[in-house]
Symmetry: C2
Subunit: 329 residues, 2 copies
Amino acid sequence: MTKPTMEDVARAAGLSRALVSLVMRGSDKVSDSSRERVLAAATELGYRPNLAARHLASKRSLTIGLVLNDLHNPFFPEVADGVHAAATEAGYHVLLNSGYLRGALEREAVESFIDLGVDGVLLAGARIGASDLEQLAARVPVTVIGRHLRSTSVDTVNNDDLAGGRLATEHLIDLGHRRIVHIDGGQGAGSSQRRSGYSTAMRDHGLEPEVISAQFTEEAGLRAGRRLAGRAQPPEAIFVANDLAAVGVLGGLADHGLRVPDDLSVVGYDNTSLAGIHHISLTSVDQDRQTMGRLAVEVLLERIGGGRRGAVHHVIAPSLVRRATSAPR
Amino acid sequence: MTKPTMEDVARAAGLSRALVSLVMRGSDKVSDSSRERVLAAATELGYRPNLAARHLASKRSLTIGLVLNDLHNPFFPEVADGVHAAATEAGYHVLLNSGYLRGALEREAVESFIDLGVDGVLLAGARIGASDLEQLAARVPVTVIGRHLRSTSVDTVNNDDLAGGRLATEHLIDLGHRRIVHIDGGQGAGSSQRRSGYSTAMRDHGLEPEVISAQFTEEAGLRAGRRLAGRAQPPEAIFVANDLAAVGVLGGLADHGLRVPDDLSVVGYDNTSLAGIHHISLTSVDQDRQTMGRLAVEVLLERIGGGRRGAVHHVIAPSLVRRATSAPR
DNA sequence: ATCGGCTCTGACAGCGCTGTCAAGTGCTGT
DNA sequence: ACAGCACTTGACAGCGCTGTCAGAGCCGAT
């Protein structure tokens, strides 16, 4: 009933506790036959090393903590998939926590990871301020996903939001649209880069950019969509700063009887599961979140293991996924 | 740079290590002044108790593990919200992990929680087999959310799927529909109860039930929707076993030019964020997942603390949320 | 017979904390 | 002045493991 310890395994295998410890740590100084006997005894007893004790003694836990800023946002699960896959391959455990959209809870989540003794922390969509992040990085290796930072101690993994903004815009221009409006993401991560990608693409083609300021929420998109649909002359196309807001925009347009893509085209950003839903089928800019998650783990483990000093800032190229909401003029 | 220990705090406060330990454990045998000095020294040094050490010594961790079966399903985040809120109030930490939709990984997630020494495990939407769950429950307190089990050692928290199925069906009947089809969720949790809720409600009103078997996925809904839309005489209304599949159904109907709710009504189940999206606006049966999460924590803590023997099976009442996909005939 | 080389043992200290206990310390009331 | 009380101390064992080390045992090779 009580959990078996190393002692128990050693006794069952008829070998010493030290040897069992060596086997558990994967030492190569153990003969195959002994290893097998130990392993057999361990599975027999259902033995599993006590991580708390192991960590206490070894100062490392082979565990990394992943804090997702918002569980509700379909952006994050896929990042988590990538993180989980890469970490598992490297022999690390992943602990998850959510910031529940509040910076304070996010901090608390990170602190509790540190208390538990994780070897490193991954923050996806962090709300925590840049200076707090620096302080954090002094205590534990930190990698931030989905937020651009000019830090020398915090590694980051991002997609190229500038290129993504340009990509979306040029797609619409290629389709023959000229009056293209951008609904932006306010203070949201990557929002300003996406906006300037849009603006420069427009200007490069001799078009006048028009930005409507909003947020990364459905509600904000809905309002913006209604506003645009209510105009005497609605735009020919809209590039929205993320999928959630884009779906809101679709709703707002539908309220006014505007048909997508017959009357106008809409492009989103992030290519979340939402965009892929057949009933929505939103053309969107994809950032390969799975890869971002993997990359983040690699970078983090590098820092944990090698003690790299300088920060690494990875930027991956976005791509466009064409669906049913964008069509030629 | 290195993390401060109790020793350090004691020295800084000019008190003994034993006293610091008492303060950290919230003992009432400490004078207010000493308590304050200790606390002041602790915050000064940025001291945080090492959870691994604490757990090792005390045999309890004040931590519970929450395993979400699938991060991608919008059903779960809200459960997590409730769990987090209730656990925090009770002074417990919550560790999250995902089963990434695979039973084996789910098992692994639970095992790693146990290795870490959580005081109890919460499983939301567990894939793990019933007998495995029993075995698990012998090792650690377990509560399962969103799955009906007839266990004497595992507590459960569910919504009343039977009543929910009836609710959805009667709503459609009340609207004047008679040829109402149910698209079910196959082996999915609660699927069979929802199905029989539908069937009995139909029969109670002298109507003939018709069930199309599908799954809890958008893809399955899409196929079923297309199939129904292609009929010479499509049904007047469809009750779909969950929101994701219902959204698929909407897509399938739209493909065939059927308008919702003008040509037929659609009702989903779960009232996920998907249903609330304006552009979708799906009438759906709501299970109060936040409350379910809270309840699950209460039940779990009861078992952890009191050592209750028998199992508790909570069932909460679902409610209908009317939106734009259902209308009078 | 001797010498490594390999494998294994037993012992020990230590990780940071809990939990218990006998033995203080200082203060109060009488 | 002395008991009684509330608080504090120091000591110790222990949680399950790591990590290191001297040394034992056994093997084949020289």
